[in-house]
Amino acid sequence: MDEFNDNEIGKLLRLKRYEQPPPGYFENFLHEFHRRQRDELLREPLWRILLERTQGFIFRLDVRSLTSYPAAIAAVLVCAAVISLKIYQEPGAANVVALQSGPALSTAVNAEGEWTLASPAATRIFRAQPLRSLNESANTHRAAIPPRYVLDSVPVSYESTFRF
């Protein structure tokens, strides 16, 4: 058997399943995902977030409860909040525009890879949730769950544009 046949190709390729990321990778992934979600959230203009909330709220309600007093008051308050925040939001909107139209500093061409997150310095958002047990995945190497030993591969602090 001098040549690779279909069968052998298949077997060799299947062995690529053993190429796995470094230990701790999958455990850390969800954490990174949440941090990214929070970053993205901060980039949204406030009025848009409130609009989404309102839509979600309405989506989950049934029509009858919409005609109730508390719902009506809530609707008025939301409108007032949106309007006043929109006025307050103007410098922020300018910032968002500046971020998007600024020079391509955060997108420097680099064969090593680029970062696309462009979040300004942020206050932290703490989502206090009870501890959840993580599903065992066939590809992780855990017996009992050890703590996550912290050492990120990139610093959290960064600026997306040159401004002061």
Binding site: E8, K16, E19
Partner: protein
Amino acid sequence: MEQPKTDEDQQLVARTQSGDAAAFDQLVIKYTPRLYGLVYNMTSNHEDTNDLLQDIFSKAYKAIRGFRGKSSFYTWIHSIAVNMTLNFLKKRGRRFHLSLDDVDTSIQNDKEFLELTATSSPVREADLSELQRRLNEAMMKLSDEHRAVVTMFHIQGMPHSEISKILRVSEGTVRSRLFYANRQLQNYLDEFRKNPVG
């Protein structure tokens, strides 16, 4: 690799759609290893894979309210993953470098690995890491679409029917792409076997 139970996914999707973010976390935990394999074997680059996975789940989270359950969540998220990866590869073009993950030592207990190293001369003669490199290089020589089907069928173990749903092509197309890709890989690896050095 078998397909996951769809009722569990359905429940998690329903919970996510009604605002339970923790349910989406469960989906992330469940699908990350699978999708990692898919994206990594298409890109052969660990860092790009990590970025893409973040984008894929981010997009899925934003779009999940519009998910009507016409296909399974499995198919849906694999679709997103394959399409985003293909778009990325198109933009990346030929300018890439391999950033390969290490081979887990448990490979030494794999039945097929033991068979291959015992019987097949091309494998026995080659050092495993050299073979890994050659295989990855051969994979990168395939077109992105061909690499996608090879990854899904051979590495991820997905059936033709599933691949055709994800790529939105007929099963016949899937089979013919696999056939062609196999031939290509054989040719590249034969070259290696004939010229093992360099």
